[in-house]
């Protein structure tokens, strides 16, 4: 594909490595702010809020939760930088503004990597300096086309010591709608649907099986000429070649004949890893099914299982198998 962004990319590249800031904190690190954080997070670590405990620790003092580092220099409700901050100048254009102007108006955070070099304690005065560390080439993603931008935030204290570093990676992109039909986005429902399992491929041979599940029954096809059971469903008996057939209801009891714990790809509708078994029913046929109520590493060949007819969503009912605990 032709890249029409040469000029934009050159301007963006010129912003890499330019230091912007420092952006200072409104207040020195302080106990009320730490306490508020810990109460909101439900974090009862005594290193953060229990003076007596913390003074007897190897640190000799309360420490701020390391993950709080970014909160310390946030501008806060007024959106104004704390006194002493050095703001971005016209000579320091922000790559995200450039991308906005070029039509890449959507943004999604991708990674946030924080490293902590020393503990921040009450009284410390924290600032951060931000640089653009890298900008990807134009990428075509599931969300749309855009650029990955990595910001490097360096947090320093009053003695100019580096206490922490944060790499913040985001994708600045335009959706296919934004690229082609500006203004049309947003007309559909905002409700994202929960991820769903794939639908079965229905046909006249297997329709009875899926219909049976909806009625809470696990069915097995039977040849009415030789009485042989078979699964998966098929038009002709593999034993006697008869086309005559009916169904019987399985008890749902069986054993794990074989299994796999699927690690990749991790799919949102499934557990990760995803335990999948070839279950041998006590009637003798085998079927592939998901396992539930079991840790993947606990699955064993030969373990007894029983079917749990499970309504996965509005349309889909499956026979999942659960270990029999006796």
């Amino acid at each position: 594909m032709e890249n029409n962004n040469k000029e934009l990319e050159a301007r963006m590249a010129a912003t890499i490595g330019v230091e912007v800031g420092p952006q200072r904190s409104w207040d020195p690190v302080n106990l009320p702010m730490i306490c508020h954080w810990c109460q909101a997070m439900g974090d009862d670590n005594p290193m953060y809020t229990n003076l007596e405990y913390a003074e007897q620790s190897d640190q000799g003092s309360i420490i701020a939760p390391p993950t709080m580092i970014q909160a310390l220099t946030m501008k806060g409700v007024t959106e104004t930088p704390a006194p002493g901050s050095v703001s971005r100048t016209e000579e320091q254009p922000y790559v995200l503004d450039m991308l906005d102007e070029a039509g890449y108006v959507s943004v999604v955070a991708v990674n946030c990597d924080q490293e902590y070099f020393s503990h921040v304690k009450p009284g410390d005065d924290i600032s951060h300096i931000m640089t653009i560390e890298s900008i990807s080439e134009l990428k075509h993603t599931a969300l749309g086309e855009g650029y990955f931008v990595t910001e490097l935030w360096t947090f320093i204290n009053q003695d100019n010591e580096k206490v922490a570093e944060m790499r913040f990676r985001l994708l600045k992109f335009k959706t296919p709608q934004q690229a082609q039909r500006p203004g049309s986005a947003g007309s559909q429902s905002n409700k994202p649907k929960a991820p769903q399992r794939p639908r079965p491929g229905l046909n006249r041979d297997n329709a009875f099986f899926w219909k049976g599940l909806k009625q809470g029954k696990l069915l097995i096809q039977r040849c009415t000429s030789c009485q042989t059971l078979r699964h998966p469903p098929s038009p002709m008996c593999p034993s006697c070649q008869s086309l005559d057939k009916d169904v019987v209801e399985a008890s749902g009891k069986g054993v794990v004949h074989s299994f796999v714990n699927l690690h990749h790809p991790a799919l949102p509708a499934f557990d990760d890893p995803n335990p999948i078994a070839l279950v041998e029913l006590e009637e003798g046929t085998r079927l592939v099914a998901g396992l539930i109520n079991i840790e993947p590493e606990d699955v064993r060949i030969g373990m007894p299982v029983k079917a749990e007819i499970t309504q996965c969503d509005d349309e889909l009912t499956l026979a999942l198998f659960s270990p029999v605990t006796e």
Binding site: A40, M41, P46, Y53, P65, T67, C112, N190
Partner: protein, 158 residues
């Protein structure tokens, strides 16, 4: 500072006291299920000084195309950090929290945090443990990542 500034601790509370030698690669952390309430999203956004409207104003969040208000990234960091130090106890020292962000944590959802030790090593006198963390909600993975935490080699309290 003088006296006990924040007196919200139960003095009899027992904390975990995990040592380096008690950790095995492959070990799983106790699972945490976080109720992603509106109250949690708003209070943690305020506590992290993040006043973006998508973290406290449902109407604005919906006008911008979201289902509801959602958790800010600083809180995801905070909860992942807490997940680790709840397991180690207060002698665990966070060295890094590296996360990949996935689907949003919308109000009303539940995020299940699971973790597994994937490495342990000693360097420059520090005993480090790396934990792989996943936080999953009803729509999929909200967060995946790794945390490195330093642990004491022996019980310092003895």
């Amino acid at each position: 500072m003088s006296g006990l500034v924040i007196d919200n601790q139960d003095k009899t509370q027992q904390f975990n006291d995990l040592r380096f030698d008690q950790v095995d690669v492959g070990q799983k952390l106790p699972v945490q299920e976080i109720d992603v309430t509106t109250r949690l999203i708003v209070s943690t956004a305020m506590a992290s000084r993040d006043y973006q409207n998508v973290h406290h104003d449902r109407d604005q969040a919906q006008a911008l195309g979201s289902q509801d208000i959602f958790m800010n990234i600083l809180t995801t960091n905070g909860l992942v950090g807490r997940f680790i130090t709840d397991w180690t106890g207060p002698k665990g020292r966070l060295k890094s929290v590296k996360i990949k962000l996935g689907v949003p944590n919308y109000a009303g959802d539940v995020m299940k945090l699971v973790g597994k030790v994937q490495d342990k090593w000693e360097v420059s006198g520090e005993n480090l443990v790396e934990v792989a963390v996943t936080g999953k909600n009803s729509m999929g993975n909200h967060v995946t990542g790794t945390v490195v935490v330093a642990l004491p080699a022996v019980d310092q309290g003895e």
